[in-house]
């Protein structure tokens, strides 16, 4: 434990300084409330985006400082963070998750696959982009998108 404390003191704060706040445009009445609970839904991703999301919530980017938290249940969620092109088997679960979240809900399509099926376009078992199944509010380009971009998108929601 003593060693642990020493290491903690040596490392100190490792989060990068926050970039300037983006220009906010409010699109629902819960946005800009300084708080957003995020439920992550993987509907057929290659896990590239997952790694970036993990980095987003890690100590370096620390999106939590803008009031964003991951939750276990869509009932608690304001934001659905959807990754990957929607596959046939996960079409219904995605819709169920969207239904389960209390209104108003914000859907963020993370990565090219989620926006336009990316390299999987027209692939076997691919239904289509997320916007074909549930209404999408924010899209984040990139394969995979950089954590900074995900952070910026989430800051759009929390408004901090």
């Amino acid at each position: 434990m003593a060693g642990l404390i020493r290491r903690l003191r040596r490392v100190g704060r490792i989060t990068e300084p926050a970039p300037a706040a983006p220009a906010f445009e409010a699109f629902t009445d819960i946005a800009r409330s300084g708080s957003a609970q995020v439920r992550h839904v993987d509907v057929g991703s290659c896990n590239g985006c997952e790694i970036e999301i993990a980095a987003t919530f890690g100590p370096v980017y620390d999106v939590e400082r803008f009031g964003v938290r991951l939750t276990a249940s869509p009932r608690h969620a304001d934001v659905l963070l959807v990754t990957g092109a929607v596959t046939r088997n996960l079409q219904a679960p995605l819709r169920h998750t969207y239904e389960a979240a209390p209104a108003p809900r914000i859907v963020i399509a993370v990565g090219d696959c989620a926006r336009n099926c990316g390299v999987f376009a027209g692939g076997h078992g691919v239904v289509g982009p997320v916007s074909d199944v549930v209404p999408v509010d924010i899209e984040i380009a990139g394969c995979p998108p950089r954590p900074a971009e995900i952070v910026a998108a989430l800051r759009q929601v929390t408004g901090r």
Partner: protein, 662 residues
């Protein structure tokens, strides 16, 4: 001809009427007999009131045939319990009985059962007490046996009950024989002074016999085994009466004999009672936590509550022995309040369980569920009872639990070493019991009534008829009133606490004040909770969106969950069962059946678990086995050959001669 005589006579009259009404044709029998028994209960209640206001003693006849009736506050408490329970149970029975339980015999038995219980509570002399006690045992046995044609379980339950209640009766007879021979007095009224000079050995003998005999009736461990068998099998209104009133009479006997007649005794009396009570409470609630049969669960919780009452009596004895009337008075008050409250909420719970049984034909919690929407009234009433049984405010169970704990805590101050060691343990046991009781009744209500039905039968359940709901509602009302304003009964209890010079419980309408300095105001707690709850509910609703209903339950993206995914009673109690593994000793077996082609591919995995009553399997069955062995040996002596018998006679003759010649 004073009022007391009138009400007592009234009881007799209604007993006769109830018996006669049972001979009416079936279509009118239930209503008439139910009315009669209900009125019998009501008059009994009136008698109880007389007992509080104007204690009286009356002798009828003389010599051996003398019937001595004594109305005093202690008996009055129990007359009150029996009366109200009988009233509620009779209303309930009118809607409930069917088939064998509606037969002439069972109605007569019910009437006589109630009457004999009242007789026990009014008995002024040993003779009357014994007669009442025995007829109570017999009539209740008849009632337990009601369904005997349909199930073997009923028959074996009846056998257990018959055997144990008769054994208990013998012990009590022996106890009275000792008492009367010591004091030469057969009237309870002046027995105390007569016995107080008796030799310590005899007094201790009386104490032990009383503990064994009355403990058997009160269902204390290890002589409780008849209880979890008899209560589930009896018709529910009978279970309510048995568990609410008859079992409490065991505690009545204990208080009457040990506290009132014997009074001050050596310190080990109290410790023994504490030990028996604590063990009973803990063991009963542990069995209740893991029970899946709703009525069996309730029966075990009866053992638990009687155990708590016994703890209170034991504590009282300790304090009496230490010349500390204040905590002693609190303890006796706690014992009586425990019994009163238990009678009403347990009666309510058994009636509600009966309603569920009638509506679904199920007692198995693992297959119930979803009743809150199908039987809304019954569900709410059961919730009230469960709240009380879990000893939580605003129901009445909490107040008695509080009084018990207070008596133990107060007793600690300035007590001898042994007591100082015993009381904290008692507190820990009571606290653990209370916690486990909460778990038990969360299970009973949450699994049995909430969520979705786990079986076809539960799905098709319908609300029970008016009469039954009225019977339950009456008890629920009493439970809530006693929970909010325990003072309604506390000053009668204060009258009944027969500790010389102890009036430790003073009560205004809203607050109980103990001489020790502690005080409790149930209405205040409830008012605060309700006020803040309503305030916050209003505040959050203020600028909120409308509630969305009928959505899918969140099943991790899946479609609608089937009820097979729900937690069952067994799985709910599993952690606790694991924690107390080496007390409960559950029997589990897993059967894995592989597919025919390969033993590596599993086709089906079966898991079953059973928690037996350890006392029964480890203590009684060996005993019975030995008895059976003796019987076999005896049979070999009598093969039926005349020569053998003549031989016996001849041998006996020779031995006799030998003895004489010496």
């Amino acid at each position: 001809m004073n009022f007391a005589a009138v009400v007592v006579l009234g009881q007799g009259v209604f007993t006769v009427l109830g018996t006669l009404a049972s001979f009416l044709p079936p279509n009118r029998r239930a209503l008439a007999a139910g009315l009669a028994t209900g009125l019998l209960g009501a008059t009994g209640f009136a008698t109880g009131m007389v007992a509080f206001t104007r204690p009286t003693t009356m002798e009828v006849g003389s010599g051996l045939a003398q019937v001595s009736i004594r109305l005093d506050p202690l008996g009055g408490i129990f007359l009150l319990i029996i009366g109200l329970l009988a009233l509620a149970a009779s209303c309930y029975a009118v809607g409930y009985v069917s088939g064998p339980s509606a037969s002439r015999t069972s109605w007569i038995a019910l009437t006589l059962f109630i009457a004999s219980m009242q007789l026990v509570a009014m008995a002024g002399s040993v003779a009357v007490f014994v007669v009442g006690w025995e007829s109570m045992a017999v009539t209740s046995l008849l009632l337990v046996w009601t369904e005997h044609q349909h199930s073997r379980a009923v028959r074996s339950a009846g056998l257990w009950y018959a055997a144990m209640s008769q054994l208990g009766f013998l012990l009590i007879l022996g106890m009275f024989a000792l008492l009367v021979s010591t004091g030469g007095q057969s009237q309870f009224l002046n027995m105390h002074s007569a016995v107080s000079t008796g030799s310590p050995l005899l007094r201790s003998g009386v104490f032990l016999l009383a503990l064994a005999g009355f403990g058997m009736k009160a269902g204390l461990v290890p002589v409780h085994v008849w209880l979890p068998r008899a209560h589930p099998e009896a018709p529910s209104h009978v279970s309510a009466l048995m568990s609410g009133a008859m079992v409490s009479l065991g505690i009545y006997g204990l208080i009457r004999i040990v506290i009132e007649v014997l009074g001050r005794g050596p310190i080990w009396w109290g410790l023994l009672l504490l030990a028996f009570g604590g063990v009973s409470a803990l063991y009963g609630v542990l069995q209740a936590v893991v029970a899946t049969d709703l009525k069996r669960l309730l029966a075990y919780s009866t053992t638990e509550n009687m155990g708590l009452a016994t703890v209170a009596i034991g504590a009282a004895l300790l304090f009496v022995a230490a010349d500390r009337p204040i905590p002693a008075g609190v303890a006796i008050g706690a014992a009586l309040l425990l019994v009163v409250n238990h009678a009403f909420f347990k009666g309510l719970l058994f009636l509600a369980a009966g309603a569920v049984l009638k509506a679904t034909g199920l007692r198995d919690l693992d297959r119930l569920g979803g009743l809150v929407s199908r039987m809304p009234t019954t569900a709410r009433l059961f919730a009230v009872g469960a709240l009380a049984a879990a000893a939580l405010p605003p129901a009445n169970g909490f107040v008695s639990e509080w009084l018990l704990l207070q008596s133990l805590v107060q007793g600690e101050r300035g007590s001898s070493t042994v007591t100082a060691l015993a009381l904290p343990i008692a507190v820990a046991v009571v606290a653990l019991t209370a916690g486990l009781a909460v778990a038990t009744f969360v299970k009973a209500f949450g699994i049995g009534f909430l969520a979705r039905p786990r079986s076809e039968a539960a799905d098709l359940a319908v609300e029970s008829p008016m009469a039954m709901r009225f019977g339950m509602g009456l008890l629920a009302l009493i439970v809530v009133i006693l929970g909010l304003f325990p003072t309604a009964v506390l000053h009668w209890i204060a009258l009944a606490t027969t500790i010389p010079g102890a009036r430790p419980i003073t009560a205004t309408w809203a607050r109980i004040q103990l001489a020790g300095g502690a005080s409790l105001a149930p209405p205040m707690l409830v008012a605060l909770t309700v006020a803040f709850g309503a305030l916050m509910a209003g505040f959050v609703r203020w600028h909120g969106r409308p509630r969305r209903t009928g959505a899918l339950t969140w099943g991790n993206g899946g479609v609608r969950l089937s009820s097979r995914m729900e937690y069952t009673a067994t799985s709910f109690a599993e952690p606790l069962q694991r924690v107390f593994d080496n007390i409960l000793r559950p029997e589990q077996d897993v059967s894995v059946t592989p597919v025919a082609e390969s033993r590596y591919l599993v086709e089906r995995v079966g898991y079953e678990q059973r928690v037996d009553d350890v006392v029964e399997t480890r203590f009684y069955q060996p005993l019975l086995a030995i008895g059976a062995a003796w019987g076999d040996w005896g049979r070999r002596l009598a093969p039926g050959s005349v020569h053998r018998y003549v031989g016996y006679v001849f041998g006996a003759l020779l031995i006799a001669f030998a003895v004489i010649s010496l």
